[in-house]
Subunit: 363 residues, 2 copies
């Protein structure tokens, strides 16, 4: 087991090694490791080597000049100058919160960025200021809209964080697909099939092949098929793409560059600049007194948490599972898969850093 601080410090040193500033390396490592702490392993240190590959391929600017290119009192477009999404997104969120402080809400569409880690981190920045936080991002095309054979959307997540009073905050953070791609990678490693409703094959038919996406198939939108509302999941992913990509002047739809997957690193036709995000903040007291709102959020959370549940289960509040994992991992540490440990050993060798792989759990 690796302590979060150890992983964060190593991540920080890797980002320093590719030329990031002290401030940016600190922020990026905090955001990246927050994913491991919250149990979103696919978006944490497992991607560190991928960010370095982006740098190697000239797709990552370690010293970006992040700037507001257009704004009104409550809206802005930020150009990330090709910097780490892990840095660009929280800086855009700071701008959104400054606007909210002044005029009630702030909404920032971001272009020329790349993968920003977990959406929830950025939305949760709003909580300590008694604001509601919104985050969305587009991503490389893996998802086939309803009836499409072509992959036109990313897993395009949405996160919304809402402060409460005595209760912990409400934090919804989910992809607009039936499942995230990481679920397939787990099945692939184990040689297991996938449930019907997660993916389609190259002919657009239901499949249980956990390798379907690599074979010309696609992930399915939330809802899985038309009869169960896949057009709604497609609509949701489309809204995320339009707000993140079209509104900012980033790439959108099939033109969004993939993260850092071998075979996808080459140049491709572009519709805009880099990956797009959309972040926003609303002051709770732009609507009603904070204490009244928080008392009602506590009542809301209580009603849901105390609902009668299916035998052997309980009704969870969005954010509960991640909070529970964070509680455990903050003390017991974080377990990493062998390929992830190997990728960190390799990075340590390349940059002359210390990394004690012996902390890995024997598998």
């Amino acid at each position: 087991m690796f302590q979060a601080e150890v992983l964060k410090d190593f991540t920080r040193q890797v980002f320093l090694s590719i030329g990031c500033s002290q401030e940016d390396a600190e922020l990026a490592s905090t955001v990246l490791i927050s994913a491991d702490l919250r149990g979103v392993d696919s978006h944490g240190i497992a991607r560190l080597a991928g960010y370095v590959r982006l740098f190697d391929h000239g797709r990552l600017n370690p010293t970006p000049k992040i700037k507001v290119v257009y704004q009104t009192p409550s809206t802005a477009v930020v150009d990330g100058d090709g910097g780490l999404g892990l840095v660009v997104a929280p800086k855009a969120m700071e701008i959104a919160m400054e606007k909210a402080a002044l005029v009630g809400s702030g909404w920032v569409s971001v272009r020329n960025s790349n993968h920003f880690g977990i959406a929830g981190y950025h939305a949760m920045m709003a909580l300590e200021k008694d604001m509601i936080g919104w985050t969305m991002t587009n991503a490389g095309p893996l998802v086939a809209p309803t009836y499409s054979l072509d992959k036109l959307l990313g897993t395009n997540p949405i996160a919304v964080a809402v402060p409460a009073g005595e209760q912990p905050p409400f934090v919804a953070d989910f992809a607009s697909t039936a499942v995230a791609y990481g679920k397939f990678e787990i099945l692939q490693r184990k040689g297991l099939p996938a449930p019907i409703g997660w993916a389609q094959d190259a002919q657009g038919q239901p499949t249980d092949d956990s390798n379907a996406v690599r074979k010309g198939g696609g992930l399915l939108p939330l809802g899985s098929d038309r009869e169960h509302g896949s057009h709604k999941g497609y609509g949701l992913g489309a809204i995320v793409d339009i707000f993140s990509g079209v509104l900012s002047g980033a790439n959108f739809g099939p033109w969004v560059p993939p993260f850092a997957t071998a075979g996808f690193m080459g140049t491709q036709q572009a519709a805009g600049l880099g990956t797009g995000h959309f972040v926003g903040a609303m002051r709770v007291d732009g609507f009603r007194p904070v204490e009244e709102f928080k008392a009602d959020m506590d009542k809301w959370i209580g009603a849901f948490r105390n609902a009668r549940a299916v035998e052997g289960h309980q009704v969870l509040i969005p954010g509960d599972p991640e909070r529970e994992i964070e509680r455990v991992r903050a003390t017991e540490g974080i377990d990493l898969l062998e390929p992830v440990v190997n990728s960190l050993v390799e990075l340590a060798g390349r940059f002359g850093l210390d990394f004690d792989a012996s902390m890995a759990r024997e598998s």
Copy 2:
């Protein structure tokens, strides 16, 4: 077949008969019949008798003083004073658009309202001003969150309207459930079962009983079950509820009053005032020049519309199906089910209005 103008004029006269002003009756009838025109039959004139029942039970104020009770430059809470949601929601949207004109975006949470018709109408108001429109509303509890036996959320729809250039606009308008309740009513009339994944029974188990919701079961969130992401549909419905209900001081969760169903008309415990909505508008040129944005939206729409499709299907843009129905119904007229025609004949009798039921298609 009934011409839309005939239905609209009759609706206007009914709203005048219960005491609405000329202006409100005109607006309410326009909004209501827009649902019939767009093919959302469950939210159109089929509900007219329900609005009158709300009035009969003292739950509808025909002469509301709609007012802003709190605001910042980009946010507000509007109190609908118990008026028709068909009137309150577009007036709240006007306020959101005024704020957007001044500071880039405007966001209005609404309390003390009731059913507002189709969400898409209000979002689409933004289009002619080159703004992006957002609408949400909560509704009476019919939906069981993941693992819950209790019904805690309404079908809580979201609509987002985005202007394009040469292409027609993007208009997503969908409930946060696998299907709308109206789909069950159709199956009930025909005595048919429902697909698994639409509802659960009173024990929280999958069921194909199209009467399950009446027997203690519940509608399922978009995603249908945990394995296919029902916790995401639940999260989406929860966001709609919090933005519409908790942020405004309306009812929320299990406390949201039902529309006008017999047996649900009595007083019940309240957590706030009436039903809640959330509407918003963002100026496109709060982000980038309108012509650039519209050119990219056309490119977005073109890429999706021209995608390779499953045999016998095509990839649709959100808003396409409703637009096609509206094109047909605007000329050919609107067909109404016999129970709906009967309800209109009854209203005509009660208020001494003319209604020519002979225009109904023979069934």
